[in-house]
């Protein structure tokens, strides 16, 4: 904060006042919902659902590669 001039410092204080007003959810609400979201999406995640990985576009489809 020592590098800030008076205007910058005032803006900084105003910003902190705004940030304090943020309506924080309790982690007992946000974390279970986040966990649930991830678990549901894991089915569509190629690293975690081996069935999707069968359609891997980077796997060579034939044994020979023309170079």
């Amino acid at each position: 904060m020592d590098e800030l001039d008076e205007t910058q410092l005032k803006n900084h204080v105003d910003s902190l006042k705004q940030q304090l007003q943020y309506n924080r959810d309790k982690t007992s609400v946000s974390l279970p919902e986040l966990t649930k979201w991830i678990e549901e999406k894991m089915n569509e995640d190629p690293f975690l659902n081996p069935d999707i990985l069968k359609d891997n576009p980077w796997v060579e489809s034939s044994k020979c590669v023309i170079i």
Binding site: H12, Q19, T27, V29, T35, E44, F47, V59
Partner: protein, 318 residues
């Protein structure tokens, strides 16, 4: 008491109040919330393509939204556009300044951008018969560390001058300047709905910004050194950061605080880049010791690694 002294005291008091509000919101931790979740399986990575063509250090890469084309930037003074399926180079864009630090692919696939120690963001049109420079965005007073297109008419940049900026590509001017960091801005990540973005800086803080009103809405602290890499969670409710303090952290946006730290006593290299798997369950983090570690984002444990000879920079799976 001088005005400045008074304001500094006020700032400290506000920060204390914010910490207290966070503590009050912290009625459970990630370990408890994820206790019922099975650990992620060990991840074995296979190299599928090695894209050879650059003649010097590669500083950045970015996937196109088609998950097939990608752009890479090297200090050999070129941007290369690759078809990752065939491994072929599709385009080469010569750069005016070879000190490039970042590159970006527009969601449309029509444009790419680059920038670095020239303090500018240069935008190129890939679709004209000969690749043309569309705009040179020149207003930052420090190096360009990251750029991300919102569309073919707007781009966000982060800079060593401690600011981020939203540019209008038609006029070439800054529409909004995001002021609040007190250290070089090193990275940025757009929210999935493109209404906000997060930035990481050398002041060890990550900040969440509203793109339209230009205000810093939230500040995430906890790191003890430069934040080099940052990514929004695909669910948009969390962010992951990677820092020179050798750790990655997840911050919960709704609870406005750090909820888990990805670290290991054996790790003593800074994190240089990171990305998430499609569900967000896996975090791929690149380190200064040329390694990449894969973390289970819910359990905080390492589930794989990739030992490579070259420094891993930035990558994303399809």
């Amino acid at each position: 008491m001088g005005e400045m002294e008074q304001m500094k005291k006020e700032a400290e008091a506000l920060k204390t109040q914010i910490e207290a509000a966070r503590k009050a919101a912290h009625d459970t931790d990630m370990a408890s919330a994820a206790s019922g979740v099975a650990p992620a399986p060990r991840v074995q990575l296979k190299t599928r393509r090695t894209l050879k063509g650059h003649l010097a250090k590669i500083y950045a890469m970015h996937w196109c939204t088609d998950n097939r084309l990608m752009v890479s930037a090297s200090q050999d003074g070129k941007l290369l556009i690759w078809d990752s399926h065939t491994g072929n180079k599709v385009n080469a864009v010569p750069l005016k300044s070879s000190w490039v630090m970042t590159c970006a692919y527009a969601p449309s696939g029509n444009l790419v951008a680059s920038g670095g120690l020239d303090n500018m963001c240069t935008v190129y049109n890939l679709k004209t018969p000969v690749i043309k420079t569309v705009k040179e965005l020149d207003a930052h007073t420090g190096y360009l560390s990251c750029a991300r297109f919102l569309s073919d008419t707007e781009i966000l940049t982060s800079s060593g001058d401690t600011t981020c900026a939203l540019w209008d590509l038609e006029t070439g001017k800054q529409k909004t300047v995001f002021l609040n960091h007190v250290g070089d801005c090193m990275c940025l990540s757009l929210s999935p709905d493109m209404n906000s973005f997060v930035s990481g800086a050398c002041d060890s803080l990550a900040k969440l910004w509203d793109i339209r009103d230009g205000q810093c809405k939230q500040t995430f602290q906890g790191h003890t050194s430069d934040i080099n890499a940052i990514s929004f969670y695909p669910s948009a409710n969390a962010i992951i950061t990677g820092s020179d303090d050798c750790t990655c952290k997840m911050y919960d946006i709704r609870a406005d605080q750090e909820v888990i730290c990805y670290q290991d006593a054996a790790l003593n290299s800074g994190v240089t880049s990171l990305d998430l798997s499609a569900s967000g369950r896996l975090i791929f983090a690149g380190y200064d010791d040329f390694n990449c570690n894969i973390w289970d984002s819910l359990k905080g444990e390492k589930v794989g690694e990739l030992k490579e000879k070259k420094k891993s920079l930035s990558w994303r799976e399809c």
